[in-house]
Symmetry: C2
Subunit: 164 residues, 2 copies
């Protein structure tokens, strides 16, 4: 049975948000884009998701203004995917899920990703405050860096390598 | 095609969290439990979800220690569902999704739910701080109250009525 995406009858901002990002894989795609992956093949390789599923999820995110599709090469035409400001605003959702996973479903090697205050290096705490300099941070002030549990192929490392 | 629940190959605390709460309906069930609904029929009526789906989601949440099934009546035996501390720790995830929905998929009547500092009444801000008294808050300090967009049947009102 195909699952519906919407939640008719729910007057709820959580349900509204889940109608956009609640499908399987979607939040992991947003995670990879937040980490800095940009190209379809990078996303596909990291997620191991079927290409048609990835394509459908990206198209929905573009339709909802969460992701932007930008040309980066003319011949042959090639596109990459970037989060819009609306998409970057999902960072606190991902951060909250990550903190919950770290606390309640911990990995043997420790957290794969740490979230730091960009340029300062302090840890971003549960209150989105820098634990080093004490500043209140917004989504754009945070940066994901490899934690002790990140293997060599973890997307946080791939993104850093593709940005370098 | 049935969707898998797990994300093999993902070394990621977000993926770990989504393996527990990423299925369709699950986060809305957690939302209703956070709001104070407790009984299967209340949940089913509010969500309008098929009973077998609700049953399966609740069983998975119980198996993961997110929800506890408690007897409240002996003859005939009746049970209710309550979040464990692990389940209550999902409040920041729901809060982040709600804030994103309020900001980016707003309802015509305004936010259906407001989150306040329990006993103080100040709004809980994006930093999980009380905007009135300035205190840093944990999940247990926050309380959902009806906002301007909540109709008479909204679960935030049903929960308040069933607690009264």
């Amino acid at each position: 049975m195909a699952l519906q995406r919407d939640y008719p009858g729910q007057v709820c901002s959580v349900a509204s948000a889940l109608e956009v990002v609640g499908e399987r894989w979607t939040l992991l795609i947003v995670r990879d884009l937040l980490l800095g992956l940009r190209r379809f093949d990078e996303l596909q390789a990291d997620l191991g998701v079927a290409r048609n599923v990835l394509q459908a999820r990206l198209e929905l995110l573009v339709a909802h203004g969460v992701v932007e599709r930008r040309p980066y090469q003319e011949r042959p035409p090639r596109h990459e995917y970037r989060l819009t400001p609306k998409g970057e605003d999902l960072a606190p959702v991902l951060h909250a899920l990550m903190r919950w996973g770290d606390a309640h479903a911990p990995r043997p090697g420790g957290p794969p990703v740490l979230v730091e205050h960009r340029g300062c290096g302090g840890a971003v705490d549960a209150h989105w405050r820098c634990s080093r300099c004490g500043r209140d941070l917004g989504p754009g002030d945070a940066e994901a860096v490899p934690g002790p549990g990140a293997g060599p192929d973890h997307p946080v490392r791939l993104a850093a390598a593709s940005a370098a």
